[in-house]
């Protein structure tokens, strides 16, 4: 039965509901949306015993302050924003139980950008086209706001279920990101492509869930003409006329008309999403075969974790 679980005292910088996103409607122009860091989302859910893609609360850089309206098991993954319960530090990437009246708050930003709060039993919020992901621009839901009460199906599950320290991602301020070139490779000269992989790019502060804007010291791109609009995957790297690349992220539009020099491989998207503003990126080339090997490896490790969690119930 649906019950009130959270009272939002402070919403944080940008707190939304996010799951795997909306698939199957891109041909109707509906953005996929969904968690920026799919790995952290899935792990948070697995740790509390939820299905992998249950909706979590995604918080960015500055966490919310929440009063518990019910006792339940939760887990927090992703960016380390120093989670605390009643002022006492709580571990990341580990399930623990909070009690009615407790206050969950966050301290100083340590590393990463997006943290995920998973609630054992799941959140009860409206679903549109098969997803609970908030996408304000398209008219799907509203961000988590001050004073709001959130409903859910709270449960008390096993606590202290966590990742081994060695398995917890470390979010650095300088990252190496693998890219598959294309699909508009012919729009760029060999020299431009070489430069793109040689220079260090800086993430701009005006980046958001739609796109990560980069500052790049490539003075002249020969050809930045518009192309016939086509579909853009998560991680597509556009070069608009001003020459400053934009990486299309979770809330991207379904289609776009700027040429794309490459696409970030799916297994590096979490690392990219967690890069802080003014962080640095060095891109390197990889092949489709290598990228798909990595994607399969990542899926296997998440599946193993889910299996492990199931066996300790």
């Amino acid at each position: 039965m649906s019950q009130e679980i959270f009272h939002i005292i402070k919403p944080g910088l940008m707190s939304t509901f996010q799951d795997k996103g909306r698939t199957g409607y891109q041909r109707f122009g509906v953005p996929v949306s969904g968690a920026m860091d799919r790995f952290a989302l899935q792990v948070a859910n697995i740790l509390v015993g939820n299905p992998r893609y249950e909706a979590c609360i995604e918080v960015a850089l500055i966490g919310p302050k929440i009063e518990m309206l019910h006792s339940m098991t939760i887990a927090i993954t992703g960016a380390n924003l120093e989670p605390k319960v009643n002022g006492e530090a709580k571990p990341m990437w580990t399930s623990f139980t909070v009690y009615k009246g407790d206050r969950l708050s966050f301290g100083r930003h340590q590393e990463g950008v997006f943290a995920y709060i998973a609630i054992a039993g799941g959140i009860d919020c409206p679903s549109f086209l098969g997803s609970k992901s908030t996408d304000v621009k398209s008219g799907f839901g509203v961000p988590v706001e001050k004073g709001v009460r959130i409903n859910g199906f709270p449960r008390i599950n096993k606590t202290n279920v966590g990742l081994k320290i060695s398995e917890i991602p470390v979010y650095k301020k300088k990252v190496e990101i693998a890219v598959i070139e294309g699909p508009h490779t012919e729009m760029f000269t060999a020299e431009e492509r070489e430069q793109f992989f040689n220079v260090t790019h800086t993430l701009e502060a005006n980046s958001n869930r739609m796109g990560y804007r980069l500052k790049t010291n490539i003075e002249h791109w020969g050809n930045t003409a518009n192309i016939w609009s086509d579909a853009i995957p998560y991680g597509g790297i556009q070069i608009p006329p001003n020459g400053q690349p934009i990486i299309l992220m979770a809330d991207r539009q379904t289609t776009g008309g700027y040429p794309r020099i490459g696409t970030v491989i799916s297994s590096d998207l979490s690392k990219l999403a967690q890069l802080v503003p003014r962080g640095q990126i060095q891109f390197y080339r990889t092949t489709i075969e290598e990228a798909q090997n990595q994607a399969i490896k990542m899926e296997k490790s998440i599946r193993n974790l889910a299996l492990f969690r199931k066996n300790i119930n």
């Binding site: 698939t23 199957g24 409607y25 891109q26 041909r27 109707f28 122009g29 509906v30 953005p31 549109f128 086209l129 621009k137 398209s138 008219g139 799907f140 598959i180 070139e181 294309g182 699909p183 016939w228 609009s229 086509d230 579909a231 995957p233 998560y234 991680g235 597509g236 539009q253 379904t254 289609t255 696409t263 970030v264 491989i265 799916s266 297994s267 489709i288 075969e289 990228a291 798909q292 990595q294 994607a295 399969i296 899926e299």
Partner: protein, 241 residues
Amino acid sequence: MKITVNGDKAVKIEFPGSVTADLNQEIQRFCRELEAAAINGVVEWVPAYKSVTIYYEPTKILYSELVNTINALPSHHSGEDQKITSRLLHVPVLYGGNVGPDLERVASYNHLSPNEVIKLHQEANYLVYMIGFLPGFPYLGGLNKKIATPRLEEPRASTFAGAVGIAHEQTGIYPIESPGGWNIIGRTPITLFNPNDEQNPFQFEAGDQICFYSISEQEYQRIELLVKRGEYQLQIDGCID
């Protein structure tokens, strides 16, 4: 067809030739074949002006396997020019006045009277080449060049849902309120996108044809009311082009 890697979870199928209604037919045919083939691991696909992008899960089907499967689809071999039937949807529009703030601009840019613009806008059947930009936003080809008008220099912070606009040689309809730079010449009372309707959230799909017809303010209000009650039926004809 040219198949290009688009990251490790998507491929882009590019169709040769210029962007025409015929090429769009080819793209729609290809999409129907994809649907019929129900390839394991394929998540969805997005038709555009000159391409179809297929999203897939590499944990279920690898790039090389998907390419082989696509190459084995019938359209790749037959070369038959079978026409597919598309729908023709009649869209009511209230032109000008408060709901067509840029009608005068379109008219003066093209040295026409507002009434001539309205007449020319209704003459053509438009093809939905693709849907993108916003949920349910149709990119319509087939605009008479006599009323083609560049985008606004300063995009509006907000354009209302149902706004019928012109940008260069394209016309389109805003399904939801959004910032935008199109020249707005009128408004339709019909709903293009209803996020709460799980069964039928979208009015149009790529490959449809659309024609516009002018309505009065009274008719606008009558249709708007019917739409609210969920009783409005858009006139839809089958048509073979």
